[in-house]
Amino acid sequence: MPITPDDVQRFCEFLYRRTGMSFTQSKRYFIDHRIEDRIAATGSSSFQAYFSLLRADADHEIEHLINSFTVNETYFYREDHQLRCMTSSMLGAIAALKPPGGTIRIWSIPCSTGEEPYSIALWLMENWPEVDNYNVEILGSDIDTRALQAAAEGIYGDRALMRLSRDIVTRYFKPVANGNHQIDEGLRGSIEFTRVNLIDAQDMARYRDFDLIFCRNVLIYFDDASRRQAAENLYDCLRPGGYICLGHSESMSRISPLFSVCRFPDAIVYQRPEADHG
C-alpha cells in the first residue's frame, strides 16, 4: 500500500514533536525511503501498522527511526536512558569502591565527532551531584582521524544540539560561523581524543582500567569473529566490576560469555565481573 501525503504529514508532525527534526513535503523522497526501510525492518504490514508501533515506541522504535534519519550523524544526549543509568546507578556502584577524590575513568569508543564524550561530561555536570567529589577522566577514541579532528574542534550544527536545552547550549557553547556552535574551550580541553582500532588487541592494550565504557552502535557493523575479538579487547580494558554500555539493538550475551548482564531501572548494561572465574 503506498504512503499517502496525509500519512507523511502525520508522520512528520510526530517526528517533529518527538525530536525537533523538521521535514517538509519537499523532502518526500528521503522521508518515504526511511519510512519504507523501517516498515520492512519492523515487519509491519502497512504504514498504519508501523505508525501505531512507532507511537507506542515498541522496541525503542523512535530511537531506531531517529537513527535512520540522522544516517551516520550522531547528536548530543543520544540514548539518554544510558546517561541516566550512568548517574542513577552505575556511578554510585563505581564510586562506592573509591576514596573521595579518586579517579573515575570513562571511555567513549567509537566517539565519532565527539558528541558522545561531550554529552557524558555535560550530563555529569548537570545531573551528578558528586561530580566535583571525584577526578573524572573522559577519553574519546575512534578509528577515523577526521572524526577525531572534528571532535577536538567541537563545532556542531543545530541538529546535533536538538536534544539539549537552551540553557545548556547558552552555558557550554558559543555561536560561530554559519549558524554553528562551538563547545566550550574548557570542555574541549577536559577530554582527550585518541585514535584506536577496536579489533586490534595490541592497539587496545594501551588502554586499561576503565570504570565505564560506552561502545554503542559499532559492533553491529562487524562480523561474528571481529565482534568477539572487540568484546574480548573491551573486557581487558575494563577494571573488574566496570560496566559497558552497548547500542540498544546490540546484546553482549550474543557476542561473548565474559560479561554479566546488569538490569538497572534505566538501561540494561554489561559488567566485567568483580572476580574472574577460572
Binding site: 561530561a121 555529569l124 551531584p129 561530580v131 566535583d132 577526578n135 552555558r171 574548557g186
Partner: protein
C-alpha cells in the same frame, strides 16, 4: 537557580587540577554573574594572583606540584594587599583536622565536596560581598 545582581563583576580564581571540576564551578559562577579565571595548581595560582586582581580564590586541597594548603600559606606571606585575598578551600577531605589545617593555613572558609551549584554561589556571594 540562584540569581545574583553584582554591581561590578567580582573576579574569582578557581584552582583545581580536575578540568571537569573547574568547568563545573566556572559554569555555575559565570551563570551567577561572576568573572572567572582558572589555575591547575598552587604554583599557577600564585602566578595569577600576583599578576591580576581577584576578589576571591577558590582552592582545592589535593593538587600536584603545589597543594592548596601550601598555596594559601604562601599567599598569606606576600608583603602586599594580595595577602588578604579571601580564600575558599574546597576539598574531599572531611575530617576535623583538615578543617583545622585549612584555618591554620589561612583559609577564610572550608567546604567539603561535593558542593552543589547553589551552595557554591551562596558562599562566593558572601565572601565577595555580592548581593544574592
Amino acid at each position: 537557580m540562584v540569581e545574583v545582581v553584582a554591581s561590578a563583576k567580582a573576579r574569582v580564581l578557581i584552582v583545581d587540577d580536575s578540568s571537569l571540576v573547574r568547568l563545573y564551578y566556572r559554569s555555575a559562577l559565570e551563570k551567577a554573574g561572576f568573572e572567572v579565571e582558572q589555575a591547575i595548581n598552587g604554583i599557577e595560582a600564585m602566578e595569577r594572583t600576583l599578576s591580576q586582581p581577584f576578589d576571591l580564590v577558590i582552592v582545592d586541597v589535593n593538587m600536584p606540584r603545589m597543594d592548596g594548603f601550601t598555596f594559601v600559606r604562601a599567599l598569606r606571606r606576600i608583603a602586599t594587599d594580595v595577602a588578604s585575598l579571601p580564600a575558599l578551600m574546597i576539598s574531599t577531605e572531611a575530617e576535623v583536622q583538615d578543617v583545622a589545617a585549612a584555618r591554620a593555613a589561612g583559609a577564610n572558609f572550608y567546604l567539603v565536596k561535593p558542593v552543589s551549584e547553589a551552595e557554591l554561589v551562596r558562599h562566593v556571594c558572601v565572601l565577595t560581598g555580592a548581593a544574592s
